[in-house]
């Protein structure tokens, strides 16, 4: 394009003096040219007169402007900038027509925020110029990728489901009346009264459903096509059931031990080290099966190698409330004293303990972004906690009977099973907590609820109860657009095999489970400083220490010894003053902290004797 501007084609190019002539002989308008394009000087390429062209360009969309501004204002010396914005003249095409939509396509700021991995509110640390420039380049690249990812949002094929806002509470018959035929096939009831209340689990792709009844009935099926994979009776009480990484393996917590079956119903393993298991959770990226037992142990079993990674004693009696945080693979255990404890296999002690309820905790669930935790307790309360550091309840609601089971959907809907009633609450969007004022949907089942799970990538809620299994429709529950490389409901056998190999290759070690999964990417400041200290000790001096100020000799005759000393003195004094100022500030801070601590320790009411202490 640049070449074209330096040597425009002879036929088109008209020097600016001959404007009149050109108006008379109108150029034939092409179909891609807009009608509003002025014929006098805008349509002809003309000499490379930058200012004019720039003025003629239609205004960029507003948010694109904002983005560019933020870029420039934050990092003035970023060397890399998108190529499109460098020269506005390049917007003209070869034919001389102007692009009606110049510049890059607009990107909504909110969407970019979603993909942003760097906290921009934090300032870059003071560092050497080389490190700093590298950090800046990395940040610019990061911004670029987030913009690209945001732009690719446009390509997503499906839209999430939902209900009109006018009448939300409605009976389910009405709802089902409106649904498509395909949706109708997603709603079904399995009438299995014989084998008692059921627990159920969907596979990670949302394609397969496994359920186990209290009286030993275990079955797995492809619930979309309703093809049964296996059906057995284990002749023992089934406490919980869980798919492992794929639908080919099934873990069943039976009365004595933990058993693993394949999709034919053949028993592959009986794990006797996990006995009297009450709840199962599978951490798909770590290939860990977490089991909570009656004996009070939380055991992590690595299913890829068959070893027990950690057996942690929770020291809180029988464990039967467990859920995992899908964001950081931390296991949440609910206890009878009203606390919820957070566990990782790397630590013998809980990572955190949250006092949630006055009575015991009955159910815990964590949403897919790892931001909110819903708990319900024996005090009939349902609470939603913020897990981002504060661990404070955001909203509370007292339910008439209290909820025995809780589950979050992929898009942040919260379901609670209370007796034989299922209540669903919805929030404003994916990243907001569900508001507990008005339920989004309510449904009554034929028996008391025993297991709940939203089906991934579908608007379906599976409920296991004493009368069997109910698959009910919940508009707006599932994530509409799946990622084909992560979990693909439509994957073929070959694709599954390939995925399995890749997933096993990048199995995350159990030691890396911690509250912040991005902590691995942070700089390890402590060991860095330790290393620096050791180095100074080894060398006997600090190689990075600032050399004392040495004044440079000035013009001939000006740099007498006295003036040199004076200048040196001046700098030294300044440094000294800085040091004093800093130490004073520190002292003040310490005093303030001490005061606060004292006020806390003495209690809210100040004592009259306090004045004598300081």
């Amino acid at each position: 394009v640049g070449e074209m501007e330096t040597a425009p084609k002879p036929g088109r190019d008209v020097p600016p003096k001959k404007d009149k002539l050109q108006t008379k002989r109108k150029k034939p308008r092409r179909y891609w040219e807009e009608e509003t394009v002025p014929t006098t000087d805008g349509a002809s390429p003309g000499p490379p007169c930058n200012k004019k062209n720039r003025e003629l360009c239609p205004q960029r969309p507003k948010n694109a402007h904002i983005l560019k501004k933020s870029r420039i204002s934050k990092k003035p010396q970023v060397p890399k900038k998108p190529r499109e914005w460098k020269n506005p003249e390049s917007q003209r095409s070869l034919s001389g027509a102007q692009d009606p939509f110049p510049g890059p396509a607009p990107v909504p700021v909110g969407v970019v925020q979603k993909f942003c991995r760097i906290d921009k509110s934090r300032k870059l640390p003071r560092s050497k110029a080389k490190t700093r420039s590298r950090l800046e380049v990395a940040e610019a690249e990061e911004e670029e990728t987030s913009i690209k990812a945001a732009r690719s949002e446009l390509l997503l094929a499906e839209e999430p489901g939902g209900m009109g806002a006018r009448r939300r509470r409605s009976c389910r018959v009405l709802i089902f009346f409106f649904f498509f035929h395909s949706s109708l096939s997603q709603h079904f009831d399995l009438n299995l009264r014989q084998f008692g209340p059921y627990r159920l689990n969907y596979s990670r792709t949302g394609r397969h459903l496994a359920f186990g009844g209290r009286r030993g009935h275990v079955a797995a099926l492809d619930w979309v096509t309703k093809k049964l994979m296996c059906e057995i009776n284990v002749m023992e009480a089934v406490r919980d059931i869980r798919f492992l990484h794929s639908e080919a393996l099934l873990a069943v917590a039976q009365n004595r031990w933990l058993h693993i079956y394949d999709n034919q119903g053949i028993e592959l393993h009986c794990i006797r080290r996990c006995d009297r298991v009450t709840r199962l959770e599978f951490l798909p990226f770590h290939f860990l099966l977490a089991t909570a037992s009656e004996t009070g142990f939380l055991t992590y079993l690595d299913v890829s190698v068959g070893k027990i990674v950690a057996a942690l004693n929770a020291r809180a009696g029988r464990l039967d409330v467990m859920s995992q945080n899908p964001y950081n693979a931390v296991i949440h255990l609910g206890h009878s004293n009203g606390t919820v404890s957070l566990w990782s296999p790397a630590m013998k002690e809980p990572l955190a303990k949250i006092l949630c309820h006055r009575g015991g905790v009955r159910a815990v669930a964590v949403d897919s972004t790892g931001t909110y935790m819903a708990t319900s307790g024996l005090d009939h309360q349902l609470k939603i906690f913020d897990l981002r550091g504060t661990y404070q309840p955001l909203s509370t609601r007292t339910l008439p009977h209290g909820a025995g089971h809780l589950a979050f959907s992929q898009r942040g809907l919260l379901v609670a099973g209370m007796g034989d009633v299922v209540n669903i609450w919805a929030g404003q969007g994916k990243a907001s907590p569900p508001s507990l004022e008005q339920p989004y949907l309510t449904h009554r089942l034929s028996g008391p609820v025993h297991g709940l799970q939203f089906c991934p990538f579908e608007d379906v809620l599976g409920v296991g109860h004493s009368g069997g299994i109910t698959s009910m429709l919940v508009p707006g529950a599932g994530e509409p657009n799946f990622d084909g490389l992560e979990s693909n409901p439509y994957r073929s056998r070959k694709q599954r095999q390939e995925w399995e190999v890749k997933a096993l290759l990048e199995k995350v070690p159990a030691e890396l489970i911690c509250l912040d999964p991005r902590a691995l990417a942070e700089v390890d400041v402590i060991s860095l400083e330790q290393g620096k200290k050791e180095r100074i000790e080894r060398l006997g001096y600090d190689p990075e220490a600032k050399a004392p100020f040495q004044p440079k000799p000035k013009q001939k005759g000006r740099s007498s010894t006295a003036s040199l000393v004076k200048r040196k003195r001046k700098v030294m004094d300044e440094e000294h003053r800085d040091k004093v100022r800093q130490s004073l500030q520190q002292q003040q801070q310490q005093q303030q902290q001490q005061k606060e601590a004292k006020a806390k320790s003495t209690g809210a009411r100040p004592s009259a004797l306090d004045r004598f202490v300081c």
């Binding site: 939902g162 990622d483 290759l505 006997g540």
Partner: protein, 445 residues
């Protein structure tokens, strides 16, 4: 009331026929890709392990010489052709693709001390112990013709090295003095000396083509400008420098291979402090050659190994050795930057990959993408202790390994003594000399 349900048409997600590619819809939403950092870390760990698994750098050994290989030269126009001179005066020309010798010349009596090709690739020069400089045609003689040099110059003293100008018909030899020759004449254009010792090597600067560097056995490196009759400046080091090599990308940078087991990269504008001291060898470094990219160089050492150093790092990134390779006398990095050749005492020339785990041959686009991705990951996580340990690990022969341990102890003791001396003397009276400055004796202009 409006109710909308999520309903997908399976036809949009499943391929129509078996001949189609599988459809893989993507969604980059971070909540669908949890554990981004730990997974990338594991991938980087796997990539690093695979790199070590596939590190098979040795490609071929070219045998045929009947004495130790003393010098090597690259063909300037042909990647497959390599010339080598041996200690019995024999010069061989090799074809690297066929890995055989295509021509043998008995060039000198005694050692072939130096060999260099003309920039056009039609002829090459050799110097030997028999006090002659000979010019040979690159192509062999016709049928029935005698193998004879194009020109022979009889000198007065032994020549120990030769290098050709990169653009003009001029070459330089060294011995008692540095001589600059015109190809057409039998007398040097000019002779330059500084001190009275034998000069072991002379090299033309590939960028600033009038500059030369030479190193002599009285421990100094001397720089010359061909356009003036006197040398520019010299730097005196602790011990003798065996060879120098100019950086082909940065005109003023050169690296010197020293007898004190180190290599020194100098900026010729400031010779008083080397830009970097490269230390990893455990015996005298005999030869050095830059990669054409100017980012790395390879060094050959008396400790029976060759090492690859990044220009800006003081430690080597790679060490190559075999059980049979003896003292490595000469080394060259090929012009396509992919291979390294080294000639050693036990009459063999060995061909190595410059990047030990690189896959040779044409890569498919998917392979290439995977390679690039892995490379980036390795780069991103290179400082993590577990990954760093795996990436740095090299198996070493016992002799080198024990030498390293021994030298570490010696160095530690010396350092401790120095620290104690500083500690117990008046502050400031014992100056702290950095490692870079320690080995420079003087700079003379």
């Amino acid at each position: 009331m409006k109710v909308k349900m999520l309903s997908r048409n399976p036809d949009n997600y499943v391929r129509e026929t078996k001949l189609d590619l599988q459809r893989v819809p993507r969604n980059y939403d971070p909540t669908l890709h949890p554990f981004e950092v730990p997974r990338e870390y594991v991938r980087a760990l796997n990539a690093t392990k695979l790199e070590r698994v596939f590190a098979k750098p040795f490609l071929a050994s070219l045998d045929g010489h009947r004495d130790g290989v003393n010098c090597l030269a690259k063909h300037p126009k042909n990647l497959a052709t390599v010339l080598s001179g041996a200690c019995d005066g024999e010069v061989r020309i090799w074809n690297l693709t066929q890995r055989n010798c295509i021509r043998t010349i008995q060039a000198h009596e005694g050692f072939v001390r130096g060999i260099c090709t003309r920039f056009c690739g039609t002829s090459f020069f050799t110097v030997g112990d028999d006090k002659t400089v000979k010019q040979w045609k690159m192509d062999g003689p016709g049928y029935g013709e005698e193998e004879e040099p194009l020109h022979t110059i009889l000198g007065k003293t032994v020549y120990t090295g030769i290098d050709h100008h990169w653009k003009e018909a001029v070459f330089a030899t060294c011995g008692q003095q540095v001589d600059i020759w015109d190809e057409q004449r039998t007398n040097p254009i000019c002779s330059m000396t500084w001190g009275f010792d034998s000069i072991s090597s002379v090299k033309f600067n590939p960028v600033e083509t009038f500059l030369l560097g030479s190193c002599a056995s009285d421990r100094n490196i001397v720089l010359y400008d061909m356009r003036q009759a006197t040398p520019l400046k010299k730097v005196i080091l602790d011990m003798r420098t065996n060879t120098i090599c100019w950086n082909p990308m940065e005109a003023f940078i050169f690296t010197a291979a020293n007898e004190d087991y180190n290599l020194y990269t100098f900026d010729m504008r400031a010779l008083d402090t080397p830009v970097m001291v490269h230390m990893d060898h455990v015996s005298a470094v005999l030869d050095v050659d830059y990669s054409p990219t100017g980012k790395e160089f390879v060094s050959a050492s008396f400790d029976k190994s060759i090492r690859i150093f990044p220009v800006d790092k003081s430690r080597s990134r790679e060490v190559y050795h075999t059980k049979r390779m003896q003292h490595v006398i000469c080394v060259k990095w090929t012009s396509d930057s992919k291979y390294i050749m080294c000639g050693s005492d036990e009459m063999n020339i060995r061909l190595w990959k410059a990047n030990a785990s690189e896959k040779l041959g044409v890569l498919t686009s998917r392979e290439k993408a995977a390679k690039d991705y892995n490379q980036k990951l390795k780069e991103k996580f290179q400082h993590y202790p577990h990954i760093k340990r795996i990436a740095r690990h090299r198996h070493l022969p016992k002799s080198i390994y024990s030498q390293i341990q021994e030298q570490r102890i010696m160095k530690e003791a010396r350092r401790r003594k120095e620290v104690n001396r500083i500690k117990h003397s008046k502050p400031g009276s014992v100056p702290i000399v950095s490692e870079k400055k320690k080995h420079i004796v003087a700079v003379v202009k």
